[in-house]
């Protein structure tokens, strides 16, 4: 390997520079600049011995850049194409800020970052191996993208063909390594120098964190990571965050008039509350207008026990305000259902003269290939801007327009909505009682049993409850931003378990009790993340929603069979996870996690949860396998 004289000179320089720095703690870029100065040339033959060590690899500077961004964690399935950065992280960086978390699959490492960011509001980095690792992580990156979550993905790659040492390095390298994820990342770059890396990394962070947020990818060249630092005057650019854009003031004034004068306004909240302040602002707007909020539960937008929660009637609305709603069309229309042959015209659910207004930053950024943008949103006013950032001016504009007479009218409306909310809650309790003593367990029973034991804790539900018939949403009192993080975004199955571990990691420093309702089909994609939770001592209570199948597909295939006048009893072929039943408590134990169950008798649920909570409070993750009904 030492036939390249330039390369050897590099090693000599690096060795000299590294020796000078050996005893030092991680350096700022200014210090590196001095350290990377070329070593003095010498003519002494004895000193021309081949140097096989490099104490100042480029990865050290890369890590300085990452540290400057305040990145707390790096998740990775170990990879040869990221080995330089990996080593710098654990030794040069002391394995702190970022701390490296060992993952068993790139889908897990990326989804962990997804879950973390939704609790913490900030990205971590996921180091992903070139080509095959990127292919493994691609679905999780797509989920990030659809869910508008900031994330920095570092792709290892050896772009220089002459630097590839084996056939494996050839098969795992690419000319354009980010191409397979470019359709669902906000930005990517392939830096060819350390200074280029510094600028691109800072730019990547800024882009990821600018609404609409999303994943970004930076390619980390193998040579840049592993070769000595030769560049001089290296510096880390200042991070200047973009202030999220607010909606146009004239449009906000017009919208305020419409809302204040509306008889039946409805607020629909999509991915609105980026921060806890977003939840507070939406409560303030709703209470100012005494308007109902239909929360799509993609974020913790609105408290579930608030009298204005969930009681908006789209059919009766005269003004509908959609806040960061991706698919307004499906909110206001109904398509031909699956129990009908062919597609008829979509049925509009709203009144003909209803005004539809959107505030969203999604209008400012769209890609082409993947169709997550849904139908064209035919609204009366599309206000481009970040929903959360726009709410203060909208609230102020509304308050200015409300006269005492109007306030009285709004309060009367609010009282009626509160009554409707109360009825909705009563109905939910009534429905929850159905099948109360059934086995398999009803999802309502499991949710009620859980609530009884966590309601006085500082809890955070990090699993999506959509496949649990939304019983936690219907029965629990969600009123804090971190208590709910929505779903995957791209509906890519396999997100649940790793995202929950990532979210639990973010909750750990706050001492919160993390609860994950875990779908069985989802866990089986990459269950190794259970080991990651144990290994890194991430406390969390996992409740298996063990309905023993891909239940959505059980229903779909059965529907297809009856539609074809064929045997519906065969709907379980290819969709059920039975014969044998999977024992999730044993699976957890195999990964070193304490496992309880399977629980089939409703009377056993409460004691199992009690025991599990003791384990979680001791700082460990635990799995309770509850055998449940389909939904």
């Amino acid at each position: 390997m030492a036939s390249d004289k330039t390369g050897r000179r590099g090693f000599l320089k690096g060795a000299a520079a590294g020796a000078a720095l050996a005893a030092q703690v991680p350096l700022a870029a200014q210090q590196i600049r001095a350290a990377a100065k070329p070593a003095p040339e010498t003519t002494n033959a004895a000193e021309k011995v081949e140097v096989l060590t490099n104490e100042r690899p480029g990865a050290d500077f890369m890590l300085d850049v990452i540290k400057s961004l305040g990145i707390e964690y790096a998740t990775a399935n170990p990879s040869s194409s990221c080995r330089g950065l990996h080593e710098s992280m654990i030794n040069y960086g002391g394995n702190k800020n970022p701390e490296l978390l060992t993952c068993c699959h790139e889908e897990s490492s990326v989804a962990m970052g997804h879950g973390f960011a939704k609790i913490d509001g900030k990205p971590i980095i996921s180091m992903v191996h070139g080509t095959v690792g990127t292919q493994h992580g691609a679905m999780a990156i797509y989920n990030d993208y659809c869910d508008r979550v900031p994330h920095i993905v570092i792709l290892g790659n050896e772009g220089d063909a002459t630097a590839r040492r084996s056939y494996v390095e050839w098969t795992h390298s690419a000319q354009d390594a980010a191409s397979i994820i470019r359709d669902y990342t906000k930005w990517d770059d392939n830096p060819t120098s350390l200074q280029h890396f510094a600028e691109s990394m800072v730019r990547a962070y800024k882009i990821a964190m600018t609404p609409p947020m999303g994943p970004v990818a930076i390619i980390a060249s193998g040579k840049l990571q592993e070769e000595p630092i030769e560049e001089s005057n290296l510096r880390i650019p200042k991070l200047s965050m973009t202030i999220p854009p607010q909606g146009d003031s004239g449009a906000i004034a017009e919208l305020a008039k419409l809302l204040v004068n509306a008889e039946n306004p409805v607020i629909v909240a999509g991915r609105l509350a980026r921060t806890p302040n977003g939840t507070k602002l939406l409560v303030e707007l709703a209470e100012t207008l005494q308007a109902p909020v239909n929360d799509q539960r993609n974020r913790m937008n609105f408290p579930t026990k608030h009298p204005l929660y969930g009681v908006g009637s789209i059919a009766n609305a005269d003004v509908i305000l959609a806040l960061e709603v991706e698919d307004i069309f499906m909110t206001t229309h109904r398509m031909s259902p699956l129990n009908r042959i062919g597609m008829g015209e979509p049925r509009r659910l709203t009144k003909e003269n209803a005004k539809l207004i959107s505030i969203s930053c999604l209008d400012l950024f769209q890609r082409t290939n993947y169709q997550d943008f849904a139908r064209y949103n035919e609204v009366d006013m599309a206000i481009a801007g970040d929903g959360e950032a726009t709410l203060p001016s909208l609230i102020e504009a509304c308050k200015k327009l409300i006269t005492p007479d109007r306030r009285r009218a709004l309060q009367e409306r609010g009282a009626k909505l509160a009554e409707a909310h109360k009825k909705m809650e009563e109905q939910n309790r009534q429905l929850a009682s159905q099948g109360w003593d059934s086995s398999p367990l009803t999802t309502a029973r499991v949710s009620a049993e859980l609530w009884a034991q966590i309601k006085n804790e500082d809890w955070s539900l990090v699993g999506n409850d959509a496949f649990f018939s939304r019983w936690p949403t219907r029965l629990w009192n969600f009123d804090k931003h971190y208590q709910f993080i929505g779903g995957s975004g791209g509906e890519g199955v396999g997100y649940g378990a790793p995202a929950a571990v990532g979210a639990a990691l973010a909750n750990k420093k706050h001492g919160r009790l993390t609860i994950n309702i875990q779908n069985d089909g989802d866990l089986n994609y990459a269950p190794g993340v259970l080991w990651t939770a144990v290994h890194h001592q991430i406390p969390m209570l996992n409740i298996m929603h063990n309905n023993r199948g891909y239940h959505q597909e059980v229903m779909f295939v059965t529907t297809m069979a009856t539609r074809a006048n064929r045997d519906p009893s065969r709907g379980g072929i290819g969709t059920k996870l039975i014969e044998p039943n999977i024992d999730y408590a044993s699976m957890a134990k195999g990964y070193g996690m304490q496992g309880i169950g399977p629980i089939t008798d409703p009377k056993d649920v409460a004691p199992a949860i009690r025991r599990a909570l003791q384990i979680v409070k001791s700082g460990e993750p635990v799995m309770v396998d509850t055998v449940t009904q389909g939904r």
Partner: protein, 117 residues
Amino acid sequence: MKKPFLCIAPVAALLLAPFAAFGQNAQGSAENGHKIFLKNGCYSCHGYDGHGGVGAKLAPKPIATAAFIAYVRHPAPGGMPTYSAKVMSDAELTDVWAYLRSIPEPPAVKDIPLLNQ
């Protein structure tokens, strides 16, 4: 002469069967109905004991047999998939109805402390 008579008898029985099933208090085998309910995937939307879920709540007081069968044959748009007579006979649906009818009432909400927290 005997042959035609023997043929007519089962045909007449088949023709009369639906009318019997459409009676308000049609008879049926709850035990067989339970088996059919599980085998044909009814449970997947309506819950193992018809308490509801993705699909409507069916038990413990199902609608009248005739209305039940009519709905299964011609569900409302957006409702359940159609189960034609080729997939489930009226007699089988009558058995399913009998099973749903046999399911006991769940405890009242007021008697479930967990739902009154």
